[in-house]
């Protein structure tokens, strides 16, 4: 009907690539399934990698201070070294510093109150008088930690620790043992589990030292330094470095988080594993698309030769094959992304890892998919040259 309305318009070209793909439904479905699968694999690998890094620095980001002090031998939350809190007080007098606060960290043995199993939990000992951690559950409940043998529990902990959050919220008192000492849970907070830490516990420094009776008072793991408003952080850092001996290091909170990411990326196999996973998924996808396109071109060679014979340029056929590749990329990407979102959700429920999809990743995977299909098409079109129009008679 549109043709009658606009008699002068040029004839629309036939959408040959789509017509060709559409004719063979089963081959099209196999291709879409293969690309979706490759996309799903890439999304999963990137999702795990993203969850690894974003979960690893949730603790760092929650610290309420611009500067962090660590032992010079500390590398990560799972590779710590202690230093004397005197170092923290040595720089408390530097111009611009508002307050300093020590943090004790140690894995302790948590007894699951439901089944009495023992699991390691990552205990954080803070001064309850200071606002050291910017976590809503901690800010609201830290004063309860002044009482002896109390702690706050991480509601995002894995199930191995027991159904603590549910029981707490239903009003049941929760009393269990940590390093064989009876402790009462007085509040909840949220920190995602990481690849190295299954769950957190926050308590006061005094309670921490009671539970971890092997730890010496005054030997701390992290120092948090809060600056006065409008202070030049770099100048303060330079001043601190000039005063401190080299058994400790000071850095901004952002650099502290970056160092944690760098540790996971470079000093553990985890970052490499996921990067490799993305590469493998890309290759798997490319091989699938290549197989589909190659057999498609091969099956249609006599038809392509006919097109050459009736006056179509080679370029026309090249465009057809590349269009097919891009149509497949788009058709495979949509279900691949939808399934990935579902698997992210399932993974979050099963592991509490913060699997989140972001726009940048969606675009990146689409670009990879388009590259994967284009590269496959570039290999498959070499076969086109064997379509010789002289063969058709």
């Amino acid at each position: 009907m549109a043709k009658n309305l606009a008699p002068d318009t040029k004839k629309k070209p036939l959408f040959l690539s789509w017509l060709q793909l559409r004719k063979e439904r089963s081959r099209l479905l196999v291709a879409i399934a293969g690309i979706s699968f490759a996309d799903l694999l890439m999304f999963l690998q990137m999702g795990f990698r993203g969850a690894l890094f974003s979960s690893a620095v949730e603790f760092h980001d929650s610290l309420n201070g611009e500067i962090v002090m660590l032992s010079s031998r500390s590398r990560s939350l799972i590779s710590l070294d202690r230093f004397t809190e005197r170092r923290l007080y040595e720089i408390a007098g530097v111009t611009g510093v508002e307050s300093v606060s020590p943090i004790y960290l140690n894995s302790l043995q948590w007894r699951n109150p439901d089944n009495k199993e023992i699991w390691d939990i990552y205990a954080i000992g803070i001064n309850p008088e200071h606002s050291v951690m910017n976590l809503s559950g901690v800010q609201a409940n830290r004063e309860k930690l002044r009482e002896p043998d109390t702690a706050l529990f991480n509601a995002s902990s894995r199930q191995e620790f027991g159904a603590i959050a549910q029981q707490f919220e239903s009003g049941q008192p929760i009393i269990t043992e940590i390093n064989e000492r009876q402790i009462q849970i007085r509040g909840l907070f949220h920190l995602s589990p990481t690849f190295g830490i299954n769950g957190y516990l926050i308590t006061s420094d005094v309670n921490f030292l009671r539970m971890a009776n092997f730890r010496q008072k005054g030997l701390i793991d992290v120092g948090v330094i809060k600056l006065k408003p409008n202070t030049d952080v770099q100048a303060v850092l330079a001043e601190m470095r000039s005063r401190l001996p080299n058994d400790v290091k000071v850095m901004t909170r952002d650099d502290y988080a970056k160092a944690e990411v760098a540790f996971w990326n470079a000093s553990t196999p985890v970052g490499y594993t996921f990067d490799l996973g993305v590469v493998i998924a890309f290759i798997v996808g490319a091989v699938i698309v290549y197989q589909i396109l190659y057999s498609d071109v091969t099956d249609h060679l006599p038809e392509y030769a006919t097109l050459k014979a009736i006056g179509f340029r080679d370029r026309y056929l090249l465009i057809v094959v590349f269009q097919e590749a891009l149509i497949l990329a788009a058709l495979g990407f949509i279900p691949g992304t939808a399934i990935a979102l579902g698997v992210y959700r399932i993974t979050f429920i099963a592991t509490s890892l913060p699997m989140a999809m972001d726009v940048g990743r969606v675009i990146f995977v689409f670009v990879l998919t388009a590259m994967m299909c284009t590269a496959s098409a570039a290999m498959a079109v070499r076969k086109l040259q064997t379509a010789d129009p002289a063969d058709i008679f």
């Binding site: 043709k3 004719k23 038809e303 009736i310 002289a390």
Partner: protein
């Protein structure tokens, strides 16, 4: 529009034959395997002429057809299609020459993933036509070959004769000045073979185009203006 164009071109139409071949030789293979298949061919075919070529297999008829169709490069001699020399023609020139020629193949060579209508439409892809003119021409030509009921069928749903008629419609829809056909009736029974060639001849006469037909089919020889018989060189 067709008539306007033929008037405009009438000056060249009469000055040049449709196909003009002089001293054409062609060889296959290289070195000691080199074998000559065409020997010093001279042939003129005038515009509007219907020529049938017959002769034993292997005598080089198909080779000559591919050379005239600009599907193979000329090695020596001269071959002019509509006044354009094909010796030393570039790939692009060869492709452009093909657009003036309608081909009908022994096997119909339709695109299996396109309907009859779309197959015919493909021949107009390289032409500058409006959507409406294209639709008219496709419908008219499919009606002329008696396929108005099967326009939207795929080749797999058509009989051999019907497929060959789609192929004829495809060759003629772009109103080429030359039709080259290689045994178009070989895959057809006696009745539909004769029908197909008659349709081809009728449409070609209407459009004033030249037909060169290679065939072994004696029953259609009477349709030709001229018959060229090949002999095998021993």
């Amino acid at each position: 529009m067709l008539h306007d164009r033929s008037l405009e071109e009438s000056a060249t139409v009469f000055s040049e034959p449709a196909i003009s071949i002089t001293k054409l030789n062609h060889y296959y293979g290289h070195g000691s395997l080199r074998k000559q298949v065409l020997f010093d061919i001279n042939l003129q075919i005038q515009r509007g002429e219907i020529v049938i070529m017959t002769g034993p297999s292997g005598s080089g008829k198909t080779t000559l057809l591919t050379l005239m169709g600009s599907l193979r490069s000329i090695q020596s001699g001269s071959l002019k299609i509509l006044g354009n020399e094909l010796l030393n023609a570039s790939k692009a020139q060869m492709t452009l020459t093909r657009r003036n020629i309608g081909y009908i193949f022994q096997a119909h060579n339709l695109l299996n993933f396109l309907t009859a209508y779309q197959n015919v439409e493909m021949a107009l892809e390289t032409q500058d036509v409006t959507a409406q003119a294209a639709d008219c021409r496709i419908q008219d030509i499919l009606m002329a070959v008696g396929l108005e009921e099967r326009m939207h069928s795929y080749p797999s749903d058509l009989s051999g004769g019907q497929k060959q008629r789609v192929a004829i419609a495809r060759a003629l829809v772009s109103q080429p000045q030359i039709i080259l056909a290689d045994e178009p009736t070989a895959a057809l029974d006696k009745k539909s073979g004769r029908d197909v060639v008659e349709i081809m001849e009728k449409l070609a006469k209407e459009q004033g185009c030249t037909i060169l037909l290679v065939t072994h089919d004696n029953r259609i020889l009477d349709l030709a203006d001229r018959i060229i018989t090949w002999k095998m060189d021993a």
